[in-house]
């Protein structure tokens, strides 16, 4: 059955008519054309579909779109504007934390949620926060390095 919902994504309200069994990841990708959110397993194992829901990193393949109505959703497209990159994005570029790029959106969003909560994380804190986001390319070392560097920059920027 279809339902009318209002989905707040990246600060903008979207009025949508969606089947009640549709997943948030599919609505974000197919209906809102925000394809920076990836789909890797569909059952919450890999983390590439991570978005922020009210600030909490959430696997969007495990949430129905209708459940997300009323929440504030942030996708990778929502954390920076045009050419002005978020410090995390810049750090991922500068530290070689990106290889194939398929996990990158989820990694950045999980990192952002961590830094919003804990501006001075230890390496262990970062590894814990990213443990639900799989990466097969990097061995995680450069991702951890990038998050540490971004944290420092964000602290300096206040």
């Amino acid at each position: 059955m279809k339902k009318h919902i209002t989905l707040n994504v990246n600060g903008k309200d979207h009025e949508l008519l969606v089947e009640d069994n549709r997943l948030l990841v599919d609505v974000i990708r197919e209906d809102l054309h925000l394809t920076g959110t990836k789909k890797g397993c569909g059952i919450g194992d890999c983390g590439v579909c991570t978005v922020l829901m009210d600030g909490v990193p959430t696997f969007s393949c495990l949430v129905l779109a209708i459940q997300a109505s009323g929440s504030e959703i942030v996708t990778i497209e929502g954390i920076s504007d045009g050419n002005d990159l978020h410090p995390l994005q810049q750090a991922f570029i500068d530290h070689g934390a990106v290889q194939c790029g398929f996990c990158t959106s989820g990694m950045i969003l999980s990192s952002l949620a961590l830094l919003n909560k804990n501006p001075s994380p230890t390496e262990k804190d970062i590894r814990k926060a990213l443990s639900g986001n799989l990466c097969r390319c990097t061995g995680y070392q450069k991702i951890v390095d990038a998050v540490l560097a971004a944290a420092e920059i964000m602290r300096a920027e206040g």
């Binding site: 890797g40 569909g42 398929f102 097969r136 070392q141």
Partner: protein, 784 residues
């Protein structure tokens, strides 16, 4: 060393901006007007006769546009290696594993396509199955393919030197075994594809492939379409690691659906299908007998291997050769014998995965070296240093070490890790282990017999001047090859990195065999270097002519023209450029003439300017059977030291640190070299400790997901110290060679050897899960 402006730096990847902003487009992000969605019917049985396929109910489902089976696909044999074409697009009379493809559906949406697949009725007659690779060759076992008696699709018998002489001259001889389990590459992006067919009979497949060229060839042959009418495009790809290096049934089926419906068809694998299709790491059973002198000098290796590769041969014939050929180095080993068998079982077919064929063989041999070292009371690193080859040596199987920084790698990890002190330390449960590794830098020959160039490059000057575009059929799959091409081109032309654009991953651009066998930096890099040099010469010829100076007096650096190292008399050229660009507000005003001005003037004189480059290796290898596998224009090598903590109660192994050194010849991009090393260590650590595909007694995978098939998370990975060793490879561009696969070689044995140091356990089966370690410890207690 030469003063490089771009190379050897830590330049950010040229695709990083798109990837951190979510703008990078992967196959599943693409939609076409009137696009249909495809789904595949997989066999639920491991081995059965197909008695009847009834698609009538599926065809009647509203929204279904086409159902295809072997009736539409025909009886065309295809595969990876022409000598072992043993697959059909769809099963005809028999299914051979749980997951074998029987039919495919195209429908208006994915739900309808999947529902239709469920409505296809297949009648089977079950056949006895073969699951155990060790028993597949036994007499009386059901034969899975008529063409493979004793279920053996390839066997290799090699004897280099004289092992009996080696045996007679040895002071100490020992035999060890090591087996592994089938593994999955577990790339993050499941295989994805969109096929389109136009009214002129041109087929375009957009696919998450590592090797557009081989896919193009297979599509043309299996679908009977002229090669020039098939185009394969690879957008951004979310990792490959081997299984995406060959054409897949799904790619053929999707094309067939597009041809039959006349509409674009998209097909995306679910994660379970990634496991079912597999084409990942074989299961290996190695047995090695090695002899040494008292001082540790290696005298001979007698090696037997059985490779369980599942239901089809895929890359298997190369795999069974690689399992032995790459033991020829990096140690001096005069006498080597090998008997290898690649067997067929009723499981998903295996293919190539990072370190193709050589990873478990390397693990077994390096594990044995540590046991030999202990027996001879030698330091394991000293034993290795005693035997390593140097640049210029040739292996017993005729592989030429045109550069080999093996000694430098070993010494680097020994010194950086604090090996000497840590070996002496005897903290309970802690251990430290070392290993070497060795790998090709690009396969010496294509998969099919051909004299083709392995890659070509066309680098075109933008007609308005100032920037160039590199056209390449090569495959950026995350390893960074586009950035490598841009960096080499910018360095040669003497222009900034952002003045180079790269268009790649399209068979219509140039030929390139693809991203496999760690070939792209050396081969495509060489072609890119040649193309850039060609283009530079063409531009400078015009300038030399206009200035009436020798071309040898001209060069570009940082985007500026240098004449005999100075500014030169550029007044006339600058006036000419300015006249041509009246009204422009941003005319160059540097003291030197800029590349923008010079290249634009060259265009005005000559029209469009392109530089071309090409590469193929010289004839390589010996004249014995199978001598081509393992040949390469260069060999990468590496050493690693792993530090572990073993909990004897739980059997849990924690890797606390890995120190790795890799000889990549010359680091085009230092950050990317480290990234390949760290990623390799991560995959190796997973394979050593946790990765294992599990089957039930009916041949069904019971852990076809990323929760139960465990790969390392950020918490599993220790601190990684990556050391770059540069031996300046004469056959590589600027001295560069591979790092993408060689760096995985030492990881598994370094961990095994560290566990041996910590516990004295002589393991013989991977992965080293807590359950296995507990059972080894139990056995050890019982024996003592």
């Amino acid at each position: 060393m030469k003063d490089f402006r771009i190379l050897n730096s830590r330049a950010p990847r040229i695709d990083a901006f798109d990837k951190v902003t979510g703008k990078a487009i992967f196959v599943d992000d693409i939609k076409r007007p009137n696009m249909l969605y495809g789904a595949i019917l997989h066999s639920p049985l491991a081995h059965a006769k197909i008695l009847n396929i009834d698609t009538s109910t599926a065809e009647k489902l509203p929204g279904v546009k086409k159902v295809v089976t072997s009736k539409e696909a025909g009886n065309v044999r295809w595969g990876v290696s022409p000598a072992r074409y043993d697959e059909n697009i769809f099963c005809i009379d028999k299914v051979k594993y749980v997951g074998d493809e029987i039919a495919a559906v195209a429908a208006v949406d994915l739900e309808t396509a999947r529902e239709a697949v469920e409505l296809i009725k297949v009648d089977y007659e079950e056949l006895p199955i073969v699951l155990d690779g060790l028993k597949a060759m036994d007499e009386g076992k059901p034969q899975i393919h008529p063409k493979y008696p004793r279920n053996t699709s390839a066997e290799v018998h090699w004897h280099f030197g004289d092992i009996e002489k080696g045996r007679a001259e040895s002071d100490y001889i020992r035999t060890d075994s090591l087996s592994s389990k089938m593994q999955d590459a577990a790339f993050m992006e499941p295989q994805s594809m969109i096929a389109e067919y136009d009214q002129n009979g041109y087929l375009t497949l957009t696919s998450s492939t590592q090797a557009p060229h081989y896919v193009q060839r297979t599509l043309a042959m299996a679908l009977k379409i002229p090669l020039h009418k098939v185009r394969v495009i690879k957008p951004y790809v979310g990792g490959g690691f081997g299984p995406k290096a060959a054409c897949s049934t799904a790619e053929l089926a999707t094309c067939l659906l597009a041809i039959q419906t006349g509409k674009p068809v998209k097909l995306i694998f679910e994660r379970e299908q990634v496991f079912l299709h597999s084409r990942a790491r074989h299961q290996f059973f190695h047995k090695m007998t090695t002899g040494v002198k008292k001082d540790g000098t290696l005298m001979f290796l007698d090696h037997e291997a059985i490779l369980d590769g599942g239901a089809y041969t895929s890359f298997g014939i190369a795999t069974v050769y690689y399992a032995a050929s790459l033991l020829g180095g990096p140690y001096r080993l005069k006498n080597m014998k090998y008997d290898g068998y690649r067997v067929i079982t009723n499981k998903p077919a295996c293919g190539a995965q990072r370190g193709h064929g050589a990873v478990i063989a390397r693990a077994c041999f390096e594990m044995q070296l540590d046991r030999i070292a202990r027996e001879l009371k030698l330091d394991p690193i000293e034993l290795r240093l005693k035997n390593v080859m140097s640049t210029g040596e040739v292996t017993c199987n005729e592989l030429n070490m045109s550069s080999l920084g093996m000694r430098e790698c070993l010494e680097a990890v020994r010194d950086k890790s604090g090996w000497q002190d840590k070996r002496k330390r005897s903290e309970k449960g802690k251990g430290i282990g070392a290993s070497c590794g060795f790998f090709v830098s690009g396969a010496g020959y294509p998969i099919y017999r051909s004299t083709t160039f392995h890659c070509t490059i066309v680098t075109k000057l933008n007609d308005v001047g100032g920037t160039v575009t590199v056209y390449s059929g090569s495959a950026e799959i995350g390893q960074g090859s586009d950035t490598m091409l841009a960096m080499i081109t910018a360095e040669v032309l003497g222009i900034p990195l952002d003045a180079v654009h790269v268009l790649s991953g399209d068979t219509e651009l140039t030929v390139d065999l693809g991203a496999y066998s760690s070939r792209t930096t050396l081969m495509t890099g060489n072609a890119a270097k040649e193309a850039a040099e060609d283009l530079k010469r063409k531009i400078l010829e015009v300038i030399a002519d206009k200035m009436d100076v020798s071309i040898d007096s001209l060069d570009f650096k940082d985007g500026l023209l240098y004449v005999d190292g100075g500014v030169g008399d550029i007044g006339e050229l600058r006036r000419e450029y300015r006249k041509e660009h009246l009204g422009f507000k941003d005319l160059p005003s540097e003291t030197h003439l800029t590349f923008l001005e010079a290249s634009r003037l060259a265009f005005l004189e000559k029209g469009s300017l392109v530089g071309t480059g090409k590469y193929k290796p010289p004839p390589l290898g010996g004249s014995f059977k199978g001598a081509t596998v393992g040949t390469s224009p260069a060999f990468g090598c590496s050493a690693q030291i792993a530090e572990v903590q073993v909990d004897r109660e739980t059997g849990n192994i924690t890797v606390n640190k890995v120190t790795g050194a890799h000889d990549c010849g010359f680091a085009i991009n230092r950050t990317q070299v480290e990234g390949q090393m760290q990623g390799s260590i991560s995959m190796g650590l997973g394979e050593a400790l946790m990765e294992e595909i599990k089957y039930d007694s009916c041949g069904r995978i019971v852990n076809a997901n990323l929760a139960e098939y465990k790969i390392p998370t950020s918490l599993d990975m220790p601190e990684l110290d990556a050391i770059i060793v540069e031996s300046n490879e004469p056959n590589g561009p600027f001295g560069a060679k591979e790092v993408g696969e060689g760096a995985i070689m030492p990881t598994i044995p370094a961990i095994i050897n560290a566990v041996y140091d910590a516990t004295d356990l002589e393991v013989d089966e991977l992965p080293l899960t807590p359950e296995r370690i507990r059972s080894y410890i139990k056995k050890q207690k019982n024996n003592s």
